[in-house]
Amino acid sequence: MKHLLAALALSTALTSLPALAEARPVTFTTQMRSYGGDGAYLAFYVTDAQGAYVGSLWMAGGKAKYYKHLSGWQAATGGDRTQVDGITGASVGSGRELKITLDLQDALFDAGYVLHVDAAVEDMRDSPNEIVLPLTSDAVGAPVTGRGYIDTLTVSF
């Protein structure tokens, strides 16, 4: 009986592991508008179906003192910069294109998760929730228009 239980536990673990580890590279291509200001700070983060913060995907802009202007991200994280340790790069200039490729869990798609992008530019208006994009298979490959500094955001596999 003991051996049977152990074998059952082992087989359960082996079959569930691939599901946990399944991931794929996902590319987020962000085309900025020519807004004529300094480099934009962009926060990419994910909320669940209930709107609760799950985690951050990318932070464009390395100075934490400006993160308060990314007000959606700030409210969700309390400004905790450890949320973006290892996933932070430079701010994105006016008219430039930012392409980020991340190995993300498959479970992120078609499970009610929503991608948010906040944007902020020095001496210009903050733009929280510049992009709000439900992470579904349908969203892949279709450019989404931003409402301020971002012209389009495209998610692709």
């Binding site: 995907l57 390395g62 905790d80 340790d85 996933i87 932070t88 790069g89 294109e97 190995d103």
Partner: protein, 128 residues
């Protein structure tokens, strides 16, 4: 008439007391104290100077100059000062300081274990 007399008497009294005080405690200039004078202050103490004609290295001017220099430095390196806040002004472990630290750039640390990234994932970024 009475009031004029009393005013005169008051003036005379005041004048006498001031003159008396001056003669009782003669002011000596800087230099060695006279041996017969009782001096409670140790001789190593710098004599009091009521005015300083040396405008080049006085406290006020030195301080003013230093302040000016410091401001010029701040103007030149405003951003660097702000960025170094955590390194110069915060003790480790203070929550307020943690909020002012800059995050680790991509490639220098692993992405956060927030369940979104595949284990060991390394982000790739390109700006065109």
């Amino acid at each position: 008439m009475k009031s004029a007399l009393s005013l005169l008497a008051l003036t005379a009294a005041l004048g006498l007391s001031v003159a008396g005080a001056l003669t009782a405690a003669p002011i000596t200039g800087p230099g060695p104290a006279s041996p017969q004078a009782a001096d409670p202050v140790p001789s190593t103490t710098t004599p009091l100077q009521l005015a300083d004609n040396d405008h080049d290295d006085g406290w006020f001017f030195a301080r003013k100059g230093a302040r000016h220099d410091r401001h010029a430095h701040d103007d030149d390196e405003e951003d660097e000062d702000d960025d170094d806040y955590s390194a110069r002004g915060c003790a480790a472990g203070q929550p307020a300081c943690a909020l002012n630290l800059n995050p680790a750039p991509a490639g220098t640390a692993t992405p956060p274990a927030n369940g979104l990234f595949a284990p060991g994932a390394k982000p790739a970024v390109q700006v065109n």
